[in-house]
C-alpha cells in the first residue's frame, strides 16, 4: 500500500515523467515533487513555508497576483488608529530566499487533466500537486439593487488595503454625533467575529474623538459569534455606542438603493453618515473559473485531505473551501495548509500520511488591554469537518482585567507569530 511506496513508484504513478518531458532543463529526480500554490495569502504563504521547512527537496512555486500582502487580521485596529497599515503589510522576499519560486502574476486557468496552471502573463506551470488558496470574492448578485459599483459610496474594507484607509478617512471626516452602519452578511463569510470587532474598534475611536457618535450593526443572522463576550465588552467599554439588530428583528438587508444611499430592511430605509457594507461572499474568481466550486459558490473538499471533490490532485484550502464547522480564518487556513503539506511530504518521502489536525484560534481585541478568544478543534466525520466535543471553547464571561489584558497581549503575539510563519 501507500506506506510502502517508494518515491519512484509514486512519481511514476502521477505521470510526472511525461510532464517533465516538456521541461528540457529538468532532469527526472531533480525535484522530489513539484507543488504549485495559487494565492499567497495566509493559506498559500504558510503552505509554501512549511513545504520548504519539512522537505526542502520539493520544488515550490507560489503564484500571487500582488507584490505585497496586507493582513486582514488586526486591520480593524487601523480604523481605531491603534496601528498603521504598514504594520500589516508583508512581501515575499523571505520565501524567495528559502528557494520558493515566487511568481507575481494572476492565474487565469487551471487544467486539471494536464496538471498545468496558466497565468495572465502567458506562462504555464506544471505540477504534481496544486494547492489553491485564493480567498474570497464578493457576491453582490444575491441582494436586490446591490452591485460592485456601490463600493464607491459604501466601502466594504473586507480585503484589507486601500478601502481600509478610505474607511478610516471617512470616520475622521464624520461629525461628532454621526452614525455608521455596518452590515454583517449571510454566512458563511470570512472572519465571523470580524464585523463585531470592527464595531468595537470604531467605537474606540469615537470614544476619544467623537463621543456622541454611534455604530449600528444590521445583521443577516440572529446570533453573533462570541456573543456574550461582545455584549459584555461593549457595555463595559462603549456603553450606548453600539447597537446590534439581528436579522429577524429587521437587521436583514432586503434591498439596496444606491441612488439614495440607503439600505432597505423590515424596519424601513436605513441611512447613515457612513455605510460599511460587508457584502455576501463566495470563493475567489479563479476557483470558479477552474470548476472547483459547487452551487454554494464555495469549493467542496474531502475533509481527510482538503482535496477537491471536483478535481483530483487539487487541494483547496482557506476561505475558498467548504469547511463546515471550521470558520473562515487565517488560523484555520494555516492549519489546513499544514494538513496538506504534511500529507504531500509524507507521500513524497514514502511515509504514512499523518492524521489531519484541524484547529482554529481566533483572538478578538475590542479595545486597549481587552481581548478574548475562541478555540475550535475539528475532525473529519461522516464526510464533514466537525467540532470535537469537549475541546475548544470560549474565554470566560466576567473574567477579571488580568485575563482580558493578557489575552490582548497574546493576541498581538499571535499576529506576530502567524505573520512570521507566513511571510518572514
Amino acid at each position: 500500500m501507500m506506506m510502502n511506496w517508494n518515491r519512484r513508484q509514486f512519481i511514476g504513478a502521477l505521470g510526472t515523467t511525461s510532464l517533465i518531458a516538456g521541461f528540457p532543463g529538468l532532469v527526472l529526480g531533480a525535484a522530489k515533487a513539484r507543488v504549485v500554490i495559487v494565492g499567497g495569502g495566509f493559506g498559500g504563504a504558510i503552505a509554501a513555508r512549511y513545504l520548504k521547512l519539512h522537505e526542502p527537496g520539493i520544488e515550490v512555486t507560489l503564484i500571487e497576483r500582488n507584490k505585497h500582502y496586507i493582513s486582514c487580521p488586526f486591520s480593524n485596529e487601523v480604523l481605531s488608529g491603534e496601528r498603521n497599515i504598514e504594520s500589516l503589510t508583508f512581501g515575499y522576499a523571505a520565501h524567495a530566499a528559502r528557494g520558493v519560486n515566487v511568481v507575481h502574476d494572476a492565474v487565469t486557468a487551471i487544467d486539471a487533466a494536464k496538471k498545468t496552471v496558466m497565468t495572465q502573463g502567458g506562462k504555464s506551470f506544471a505540477y504534481d500537486y496544486l494547492v489553491v488558496s485564493p480567498g474570497i470574492d464578493f457576491d453582490y448578485g444575491t441582494i436586490e439593487g446591490a452591485s460592485p459599483e456601490m463600493e464607491k459610496t459604501m466601502l466594504h474594507a473586507w480585503k484589507a488595503g486601500e478601502q481600509t484607509l478610505q474607511l478610516k478617512k471617512q470616520l475622521e471626516a464624520m461629525k461628532n454625533g454621526g452614525l455608521v452602519i455596518i452590515t454583517s452578511p449571510k454566512r458563511p463569510y470570512r472572519c465571523p467575529p470580524g464585523p463585531y470587532e470592527r464595531a468595537a474598534q470604531m467605537a474606540a475611536y469615537f470614544k476619544h474623538h467623537k463621543p456622541k457618535s454611534k455604530v449600528l450593526i444590521l445583521d443577516h443572522g440572529d446570533t453573533m459569534p462570541k456573543q456574550a463576550l461582545f455584549e459584555e465588552s461593549w457595555k463595559q467599554l462603549y456603553p450606548g455606542m453600539i447597537e446590534w439588530v439581528p436579522g429577524s428583528s429587521g437587521g436583514k438587508i432586503l434591498r439596496v438603493d444606491q441612488k439614495k444611499r440607503s439600505l432597505v430592511t423590515d424596519m424601513g430605509d436605513q441611512k447613515a453618515d457612513i455605510i460599511n457594507f460587508i457584502p455576501p461572499q463566495r470563493a475567489a474568481a479563479i476557483a470558479r473559473m477552474a470548476g472547483l466550486t459547487d452551487q454554494s459558490g464555495w469549493c467542496p473538499i474531502d475533509p481527510m485531505t482538503m482535496e477537491s471533490t471536483l478535481h483530483k490532485g487539487i487541494y483547496v484550502i482557506g476561505d475558498a473551501a467548504v469547511t463546515n464547522d471550521i470558520p473562515k480564518s487565517a488560523h484555520a487556513a494555516a492549519s489546513q495548509a499544514k494538513v496538506v503539506v504534511n500529507a504531500i511530504v509524507a507521500v513524497t518521502n514514502g511515509k504514512p500520511v499523518p492524521k489531519p489536525q484541524y484547529t482554529n484560534a481566533c483572538y478578538t481585541v475590542v479595545g486597549p488591554d481587552y481581548g478574548f478568544s475562541i478555540v475550535g478543534i475539528f475532525q473529519p466525520e461522516g464526510g464533514k469537518l466537525v467540532s470535537v466535543k469537549g475541546a475548544g471553547g470560549l474565554s470566560p464571561v466576567g473574567a477579571p482585567s488580568y485575563v482580558r489584558k493578557a489575552e490582548a497581549e497574546y493576541a498581538y503575539s499571535w499576529l506576530k507569530n502567524i505573520t512570521t510563519e507566513a511571510f518572514l
Partner: protein, 191 residues
C-alpha cells in the same frame, strides 16, 4: 479517492503508533501559529517553548489539559490531545534548539534586574536564570513580556485563579512592579 486520501485511511488504520513522528510533527505544527515556528516565538509576550526541558513541558501540558493549571487558552487546545501525545510533544519541543529573544539592553534596567535575580530568584532559577531541569523552566532569553505576565499572576489582585507554583509564590509576591519589569528585562537580554 485520491492517493493522499487512501494513505490517510491507512495511517488511521495503523493508529495509534505514537512513536510515528509524522503524527507528532502534525500536531506540533498546529502550535506554531501561536508559539512560533518550531516553538521559537517572535511575539513579545508569547513564550518560546523550544528547548525547555521535557519534564517541565510534559507536566505543564498535562496540568493544562486536566484544568489543574491556570491558562488563558491552552486548556482548550490540550483537551483533545492524549497523554501519550503530550509526552511525545514534550520530547519534540525539548529537543529543539533554544533561540533567545532579541531584546535591546537598557543598562540601568538590566543592572537592577541582575540584582533582583541574585537576591530573589537565583536559588531556584540559577545564577544566570538558565537553569532548565526538573520543575524549573529556562528564563534566560525568554521574552520579557511573557515573564512579566507570568509574575503578575503572583502579584495582580485581579488574578484570582490558583497560582502555577506555591514555591514561586513565596518569593515573587513581594516584588515591586519596577523590580518585576527590571528582572524580566534582564532575563530577556540573556542568551
Amino acid at each position: 479517492m485520491h492517493k493522499l486520501a487512501l494513505a490517510v485511511v491507512c495511517a488511521l488504520a495503523a493508529w495509534p503508533s505514537l512513536a510515528n513522528d509524522t503524527n507528532i510533527v502534525a500536531i506540533a505544527d498546529t502550535c506554531n501559529s501561536c508559539h512560533g515556528i518550531n516553538g521559537v516565538s517572535a511575539g513579545l509576550t508569547m513564550p518560546s517553548i523550544a528547548g525547555q526541558n521535557k519534564d517541565y513541558l510534559q507536566r505543564v501540558l498535562l496540568e493544562q489539559k486536566k484544568g489543574e493549571r491556570y491558562t488563558t487558552i491552552m486548556d482548550r487546545f490540550m483537551k483533545n490531545i492524549s497523554d501519550e501525545e503530550i509526552a511525545a510533544l514534550a520530547e519534540y519541543f525539548a529537543a529543539k534548539e533554544w533561540v533567545p529573544a532579541t531584546v535591546a539592553v537598557e543598562m540601568a534596567q538590566a543592572n537592577r534586574g541582575r540584582q533582583v535575580l541574585r537576591k530573589t530568584c537565583q536559588n531556584c532559577h540559577g545564577e544566570k536564570g538558565d537553569k532548565n531541569t526538573g520543575d524549573i523552566p529556562r528564563l534566560a532569553g525568554q521574552w520579557p513580556g511573557y515573564i512579566k505576565l507570568e509574575i503578575f499572576k503572583y502579584v495582580d489582585p485581579t488574578f484570582t485563579a490558583k497560582r502555577p507554583s506555591e514555591r514561586m509564590a513565596e518569593r515573587a509576591c513581594n516584588l515591586t512592579e519596577e523590580d518585576m519589569a527590571a528582572v524580566a528585562h534582564f532575563l530577556g537580554t540573556r542568551k
